[in-house]
Subunit: 401 residues, 4 copies
């Protein structure tokens, strides 16, 4: 880890920052301080100049939709972030309330009260995390100042094909121009574009857990793109904090079930990513299952290997591909990932197994759906966009047991 | 409970007993009182004569290995059984203890104390449930009086191929003669043989959840037997009551993981059943997952349909096949089975869905691993073997929430 | 168990009933109708005569509010009841739906569709369980035919003091005449009055777990009535099936909290019962806690013993008092009750411990809040009211694990 | 991670260490480096001099007993600690293994393999956390170099009265000299002594949750010391990682129970602390309960107030007492603490309520048993002992949901 970033990590007084950050100027600072593995001689960035111009204050962050689980997770992750501070939080139905009254576990956080999004003042914000529901997001983002960097955690900008959006979400897209600008934020796959982006469509949780292992393998022609069978399992927090009978404790505890069989809205997002990797239309079998746990997601993926390919080839390729990544970890052979071993963290653990059926392989990946599957990856992306080390604020260890 | 009334309470009219007990010659009249849908001309059984000779006393049941979860589940299911009463319970390490001290939820049951299996007196027992661990079971069963009816819940007699047993269980089979006699007790599939059997190899939980939907479809040539992908999920009780770090609450709660990938010992049992149905060697992809719940099991099965077959064909065939069954229920189209909806009961719920990939289908089945996946099916089998209605003692409603 | 009830337990054809009774020649039908141990001079009930007049058909039962957890629990308990059959189910918001669509675990139950309560036809009903919310119940019950036996599971008729009802429930009582008639249905304490009652106010879950141990001790002057400290813990099903953010899986799992500290609405009910036993006004300290479990309730009760009394005295008195009861079990000394050991059953387990502080004792009781704490006790009461054995339909064994 | 930068990352300027310990005026560094409210005149320690002599490398930490839950929690908390790095880990039964093989959630931590305690080299260690079982700890600590700072998480040095230790732990104390030196590490109560201590007896989880609210109230004579009733509830991780049938998932999930009624080993520790505060022997009623959750602990405490005292007095006193504390938070009136709102964090939330019984109050406190109840408080103590800000490494936000 570069020392500069570490230094920032607790600094409270703006003045202390000045010491080691005098002067720069630049206009495209995105590369200031990236992952060690890729940063190497990262040049100082423009953004960083702006940053200094404001006397090295932290970047000012807005959280739109702060009263849901992805919103509160953003707040948790930013609590000790050395470069970001939250200056705006919106929550229409909780407007006027403190974060501690909405999320008592955040009672110790010193944050502004929530306001309705229509009353939000964006003049003092450098970037926003948009944690609003699908459908309402497009118009709100369309109305934001163009100077803002935006990471949108909804699905509203994930599908490049406007028609497909309408088909799966049942309404026409309301911000087609912005859609063209949006960059799909699967960090390890699209890091370069993300660094230069203004608007990130942050990936869904299922698509993250599925594309991280599959895209490298498809690109390397190591697996067939037909008959990819994906059996995914998710914790309940993915369903959000809305009051629904189906998500009551009594309806979820001590039982499991499939849902949205073949019709889950993450299907087009998954197929879009895999098709792009394959350079041909990919249709997958995808079945999500709801688990009696708050956090965690596993995708068990059953694939046919390309002629001549072996599980050893798959393993080696993933090993090489993710060797220098901080957050994607290929386990040792025969080790099986558990969702509980990434709880609360931004890690994705994965492994590859030979199948009993010759020519087939089984790939398993696990993430915390609220972190790498949502708010953690969003922060990873904003770190990149703002030119600070990608892992800043994301190195906390999984909570176990 | 008075024995007469108890007997009546299932059979309705004493006369009905006589009706289908005419003529038999017997010596082993297993077919006294079967499910209406299958009973047809059930011949009268000797056992029943003995039964009457004892003035309608209940059959005397032994439970070998009463201190584990399948053992306690047998006791639970027999507590109000009108025709069976437990007269012997063994548990080597708990010998001398009352059932209430080992399983406090059974404190109200009036039962004999447990004895070591070597001290057991089988002279007053008509039938036994054998709930012992794999490996130790063969020799114990070999030593039992040949007059006893036996339902063995271990895996020791499930594999017809002795070599396969040795390969998967790491030791030679110790009761090869008995193996030939053993009938595999998947009730709805092998009811006729079960009725006449003396020794039942009760199916494993995963194999039950998988074979119930697949065997009829394979026999009807509606699905391909290659590339059957089975993603199964089980509650923790399947791992038994042994003290293992891996099964501590803290190690299981709020997380999931795969285990025994491609190497689970239920594989040969599943493949044996499907191969027999297919009349050719079937190799499956089978991946079990451990769920943070005590009971319940789901198998999500991904299949290629036979050329020309549709999911409607699959649905209709299963619908017809299980139409008259008490315990196997094909849900209405688009309804998704939940494990929690069979908790504590002997039901198997299943459904069929079209996949996004043309020509493929998704089949989902759920059971309670301790009931239909173990002790419930065992009782269903013994009911049949003893000539009483198959559903006796098994009609309790699932416990929800 | 009396044989008659057993006989009924599966009997489908009314005719079979006669046969058996002809054989048996019942001369004392009244003994059939009550627990032998306490029946004393229980008079033969009109109900039972009517019952015979209808040729031993089952009593016809209505369930008002069948779409909640107490309603579904009534349905579960009646599924195999030999003397009751459900002929009417109401659920205003689910009117027109089948029970299987509202509660999929009941999919195998052959029951009438639900209707709105205003459309209900009570002419073919002998008795109703009223599982409606507090507040709405009084007027509905006031409108029922006076020939109906009623067990009301709401709080609407539990408080004899109309003023107290208004104070705690924030609205005037709307059926004051009926209130006078209502009998508080704590079965083991008020069995005699319950047998003769038409309208039962079924006790709340907390009050049941608390009064069962305390009332006998207070009546025997073995404990002081001042400074009774009650720390109770409940599963989430007590909060019902309404969609509330606070009861989402994600808000409940893996955590506990107190609620309604000193202000829970069960307080006046508890104090009413204890005051009656003490023949003086009793004020208790009562703090409920919400547990991450669906079912189960424990009350840990801290008391000062009367001068000269010992925990041995308390133990002996409870032992004698409940010696012949089916459902209330005083554990052996030093054995600690677990809620999981009564799950799904009508049992109340209790125990008494000496405290470290001289002169004090700790009393622990556990129940399943939905069974002995609601629907099970309701059935126990209706059994009594209809003149059949009190334990009918209530002998299923707790489900563990 | 480079040590220099890491060190900086908290303290910014190496000089700040010296400065603040010299009692410098520097306005900034002082605030950065110590809790203003408690730093007072912390004396410069020898350790700190060594520290500087090593050119601001991190302190080298040993973790004895790294394979249990408190050990792994220490590792989690130290993962991003700017001043501490782990250089030694012992675990007798896991000697030779990597931490990732024993705790897969720590797979990303770059740490030495575990060794047997007898093979440990303490020459390169500045301080140790001792996470060994009760009973074995005394002799091991006795054998450690006297230069080491030690925080012992076992109970072996908590009881000042050697006789009481023998009585409750069933064996004579084996390090009586050390016992005299040991400081009981309830941080907020004994901060000054902790700063100067070499050996800390880190408090038990229950005693922490109970003494934090009670000691200030007792010292202020606001509550009576007789008849203090404590009903505590704990998550299962408190029982450790040992394989025991009683702690299996299947034995714990979906149920609760009391345990160790009046005989829990934390009793003498609680009474010792309260007696010292009261300056007279205090005997409490203490009943622990096991909850179906991995982490979390609540104590619900029922007290009689001193004559003339009101709950408002209690509230105000606790409010003043903990006003400047980072980790102990008195909630607003009427707000109820939840254990899930401190999960994974070092916070203790508490509140005070009037009881229905006049003159009584109810005090509720919650902690994470593994953090403030064990490893977090241990780190808080070692931070103090090593002269660095008390909250270093302890500011992560609770994980919810």
């Amino acid at each position: 880890m570069a020392s500069l970033s570490s230094l920032n990590s607790i600094c409270i007084d703006p003045a202390c920052f000045i010491k080691y950050q005098d002067d720069v100027k630049i206009s495209k600072p995105k590369k200031l301080c990236v992952r060690a593995s890729v940063a190497s001689s990262a040049p100082q960035s423009v953004q960083f100049e702006d940053f200094k111009a404001r006397k090295f204050e932290k970047f000012r962050i807005g959280v739109l939709g702060a009263s849901g689980y992805t919103g509160s997770e953003i707040i948790r992750l930013l609590a000790n972030h050395p470069n970001f501070r939250i200056t705006l939080m919106t929550a229409d139905r909780k407007a006027g309330q403190s974060i501690g009254s909405v999320f008592p576990h955040l009672v110790k956080q010193d944050l502004p009260d929530m306001v309705a999004v229509k009353d939000a003042d964006f003049s003092n914000v450098d970037a926003v995390f948009c944690c609003l529901p699908h459908g309402t997001t497009q118009e709100i983002i369309k109305g934001l100042p163009s100077s803002l960097k935006i990471v949108d955690l909804s699905a509203d900008f994930r599908l490049q094909d406007i028609g497909e959006y309408e088909e799966w979400y049942g309404q026409p897209h309301k911000a087609q121009e912005l859609q063209k600008e949006a960059v799909y934020g699967l960090t390890e796959i699209s890091r370069d574009e993300i660094q230069g982006a203004r608007l990130i469509a942050n990936p869904g949780c299922y698509p993250t857990s599925i594309q991280l292992p599959l895209i490298p393998l498809i690109k390397a022609n190591l697996i067939e793109v037909k008959n990819i069978i994906i059996d995914s399992k998710s914790g309940v927090s993915g369903a959000g904090r809305g009051a629904k009978e189906a998500n009551l404790y009594t309806e979820i505890a001590e039982g499991i079930h499939s849902y949205g069989v073949t019709r889950h809205r993450h299907v087009p997002e998954i197929e879009q990513g895999l098709s792009e990797a394959a350079k041909s239309k990919v249709t997958v079998s995808f079945t999500p299952h709801l688990m009696p746990m708050s956090r965690g997601m596993q995708s068990t993926i059953y694939v046919e290997m390309a002629p001549g390919a072996s599980t050893e080839d798959l393993y080696q390729h993933l090993s090489n591909f993710y060797e220098k990544e901080e957050f994607v970890v290929l386990l040792k052979k025969n080790e099986i990932p558990h969702t509980r071993h990434v709880r609360g963290s931004n890690y994705c653990l994965m492994s590859v197994f030979p199948d009993r059926i010759p020519g087939r392989a089984i790939i398993i990946s696990v993430i915390d759906n609220l972190v790498k599957g949502a708010s953690g990856q969003a922060l990873q992306n904003l770190n990149l966009m703002m030119g600070i080390p990608e892992n800043t604020g994301l190195l906390s260890v999984p909570l176990f047991p």
